[in-house]
């Protein structure tokens, strides 16, 4: 009985919120713009999940719009991670470079990526690369800054220990800097998951021929609000999924970090 009830602790409020929404939109607050949850869910099933096992139950719509978006997120996010982690650690360790790039980074992270959409279109054209670039750029900053802070924040004693052992640069990077900065890096990467979702949608508003953002705009232009909401629902679910996956990854990869912190308490 307890085992059955435990997941309920986590979800009951969500269920209440959705029920209130359903009731309101069915009774006093009917609106063509905000359909009842049940209708959104129905549209959601119809739009994204066809009943054909040959396509793994994914609809045409899902394959043409969602898969490309996921691909772009994956690519942009990966690029941002590699550049952000490498660059951040380098800047954190090599102080003059850190000072050199500091204002540019501060400026870069303060410019809304949306404003760079036209430039991205000119440089990359109407291609996947354009979306990937914008996603990567937006995700880069939190990861970079965190990797930088992480590398700077590595305990002085650890650095000294490594020096007294005469570790090679490569080993120092792989065995000390990278793992030492990883809690900060993971924190940055986690923030970036959200950013990536936002930029995926925003970058597909224009100059895209597929994708969830593209789909959103199209439905918006055609005033198909149940479809619009079903796309929002899909984005929310993807977001929850990404978060959960990340949390799981974090739990296993940073076990030492949490355990070490927990014990020092």
């Amino acid at each position: 009985m307890r085992r059955v009830l435990r997941p309920l602790q986590w979800v009951w409020l969500l269920v209440v919120v959705l029920l209130v929404w359903e009731l309101l939109t069915r009774t006093i607050a009917t609106s063509l713009f905000v359909p009842p949850v049940s209708e959104i869910v129905r549209t959601f099933g119809r739009t994204w999940f066809a009943a054909s096992p040959s396509t793994l139950f994914l609809s045409e719509e899902f394959r043409t719009n969602v898969l490309p978006s996921i691909g772009r997120i994956a690519a942009g996010y990966s690029i941002a991670s590699v550049v952000g982690i490498g660059g951040g650690i380098l800047l954190g360790v090599w102080r003059p470079a850190g000072a050199f790039f500091n204002p540019l980074i501060r400026l870069g992270m303060s410019v809304p990526v949306t404003a760079l959409l036209p430039l991205a279109i000119v440089v990359f054209g109407i291609t996947n690369s354009m979306n990937v670039f914008l996603i990567a750029l937006g995700c880069l900053w939190p990861i970079l800054i965190n990797a930088y802070d992480g590398a700077r924040g590595i305990d002085g004693t650890m650095t000294l220990t490594a020096r007294s052992m005469q570790l090679s640069r490569r080993r120092y990077f792989l065995n000390v800097l990278l793992p030492g900065a990883s809690p900060a890096i993971v924190a940055g990467m986690r923030v970036s998951v959200g950013t990536a979702m936002v930029l995926m949608v925003v970058s597909e508003l224009y100059a895209a021929t597929s994708g969830l953002g593209y789909y959103l705009t199209q439905q918006q232009r055609l005033f198909r609000f149940p479809q619009l909401w079903s796309a929002i629902l899909l984005i929310a679910l993807l977001g929850i999924l990404a978060n959960a996956a990340f949390a799981a990854l974090e739990r296993s990869a940073l076990r030492w970090h949490h355990a070490a912190r927990g014990e020092s308490r």
């Binding site: 602790q9 986590w10 102080r95 540019l104 410019v111 949608v201 925003v202 929002i232």
Partner: protein, 273 residues
């Protein structure tokens, strides 16, 4: 320990930093960027139609700063930014404190929060326009939606991170739950809350500007789109530069305020004391 050497790569001799101060390197970085940019346009690698010469952009930035219309629109942007931050904080902080303090609330609420915060606020643009029109309120709504969650989460986590030993110390002085909350939980959550608000301040500015670019009636973003439609990339990039600088100013203002108001936050993070 000797901070002097801590940032040097292994094996490197413990060099003494001298000569070039950090800010000078920063200025050099900015200059190098402008030069590379200039060369890129000059060589034709990027068309002047899409990317202006940096000199032209800087000149236009000067023009914009002298343009009362631009300043008025900046005022609109800042007002939307400030209002969204104030409103979101006013609701999210107390709510986050409650959710963190009462274990029974924490779990169900965090599911809702994680679901809601994964939806990009721009996805709500059409709905937001319906509900709030094209003006100030719409910007406000989207910005609040975007920053509400980070503030809430930070408040929640801040509360949960309160040092148990401190709570025991409080109990040993005979404090009840309310006193523990106000005297220990709140101040120990304050640095986390401040961090949340600082992060939110950057996000809010970016969201406000983005809604202005995507469809609003006032603000710096609309100035940029106007020049975009007039095909004046020099003005467009001047506008982008100035918004970026605005973001930098906001960021440092917050960092400074945090240091002044919560001096222990840094001290706590900095050392094992």
């Amino acid at each position: 320990m000797t901070t002097e050497t801590s940032a040097l790569p292994v094996g490197a001799p413990a060099r003494v930093r001298r000569g070039v101060p950090e800010w000078a390197l920063g200025v050099a970085g900015a200059v190098v960027l402008l030069v590379v940019w200039d060369l890129a346009v000059r060589s034709g690698a990027v068309s002047e139609d899409s990317l202006p010469y940096p000199a032209a952009m800087l000149a236009r930035a000067g023009n914009l700063l002298a343009d009362p219309e631009f300043l008025t629109q900046t005022g609109h942007t800042l007002w939307a930014w400030f209002a969204s931050l104030a409103l979101a904080s006013a609701v999210a902080v107390p709510l986050g404190l409650l959710m963190g303090y009462f274990a029974t609330l924490y779990r169900p609420a965090s599911t809702v929060v994680h679901a809601a915060r994964s939806i990009p606020s721009t996805a709500f643009l059409p709905v937001a326009i319906l509900m709030f029109g094209l003006g100030f309120q719409m910007k406000l709504a989207l910005a609040i939606y975007a920053i509400f969650w980070p503030i809430l989460l930070n408040a929640m986590y801040g509360v949960r991170d309160a040092e148990p030993q401190m709570l025991t110390a409080g109990r040993s002085m005979g404090w009840n739950r309310y006193r523990l909350l106000t005297r220990i939980v709140l101040p120990s959550a304050a640095p986390a809350i401040a961090t949340g608000i600082r992060v939110a301040s950057s996000i809010a500015l970016i969201v406000v500007l983005s809604t202005e670019l995507l469809g609003a009636t006032t603000g710096i973003g609309t100035v940029i789109t106007t020049y975009q439609q007039a095909q004046r990339p020099d003005f467009v990039y001047a506008g982008i530069l100035l918004t970026g600088l605005l973001g930098v100013v906001v960021y440092y203002a917050f960092t400074f305020a945090e240091r002044a108001l919560l001096p222990w936050a840094n001290a706590q993070r900095g050392g094992s004391r």
